[in-house]
Symmetry: C2
Subunit: 156 residues, 2 copies
């Protein structure tokens, strides 16, 4: 069941993030900072929303999204992370769908996901295009030589 | 002369920013937050550098830039603002050139400037392409309906 994340999810999110294999150390640090800001200020003032896929005590993935600064009606998909033990169960798809639905209710006209072509993100283009996103912009070598940024966009 | 900004420049930067006609209220707020962080933490820890074009007590423009999170050797050009009374004197060009030179010295292999197609930014494409930047990515309607984001990139 997809529900709002709560403070008690802190260790689960850190555990899933570090085991996911998609977040490097810098990204884990940034996730920690975003999570702290979310807990401290709440979704409205932090600008971050966290949803988890929870069954009983178990969390199989989480998504973080929120309005993009300086835009009118654009929401960023900041993180979408699935427990490696829960792959191939549509957890990512359901989390994304929930984030889209909540964003639309909050007035989003567009969702944006900045992704990398690094090997650890293999399959992400397929995932996003199946979900109705389009790769709309690309900056070659942005993250590092050989690691482009690809921006996926879905318009509602 | 282009030199590092100091705390005493606070009122000048706010004055130039508000009279520039290019920064809206949200962007002025964000500039204020960035400037506070720069003063509080210093360039290293804040990740922001500010340079001003100063003649005597007078400042005719400023530039803010710094390393982009999650990238290796990419610097963002965050702000480049010229006093409307000092236009057509190459202030912007000199500030940009100084920011590029300092970034290269700090290891930049690329500089990135996210800009808007809003009317108040008219002429920016001409300015950046003359400075050797290329429009490398565009997201339609990102800032608002009819206001695209255009990302200019210069590789060193």
């Amino acid at each position: 069941m997809i529900v709002d994340a709560t403070e008690s999810d802190s260790p689960l999110l850190e555990d899933i993030g570090s085991r996911s294999g998609v977040l490097n150390d810098d990204e884990m640090d940034a996730l920690g900072a975003v999570w702290e800001e979310f807990l401290l200020l709440g979704p409205e003032d932090s600008g971050y929303e966290f949803l988890v896929d929870r069954v009983g005590d178990r969390v199989s993935g989480f998504v973080c999204y929120g309005p993009r600064d300086f835009t009118d009606g654009v929401f960023d998909l900041h993180y979408l992370v699935v427990d490696p033990d829960s792959r191939r169960q549509s957890v990512g798809r359901r989390l994304l769908r929930a984030a889209e639905a909540e964003s639309r209710e909050a007035g989003a006209r567009m969702m944006v996901a900045e992704t990398s072509t690094a090997a650890r993100y293999a399959g992400i283009e397929d995932f996003f295009t199946k979900a109705g996103f389009q790769p709309e912009a690309r900056i070659k070598d942005l993250y590092a030589a050989g690691e482009d940024m690809v921006v996926f966009v879905k318009r509602f």
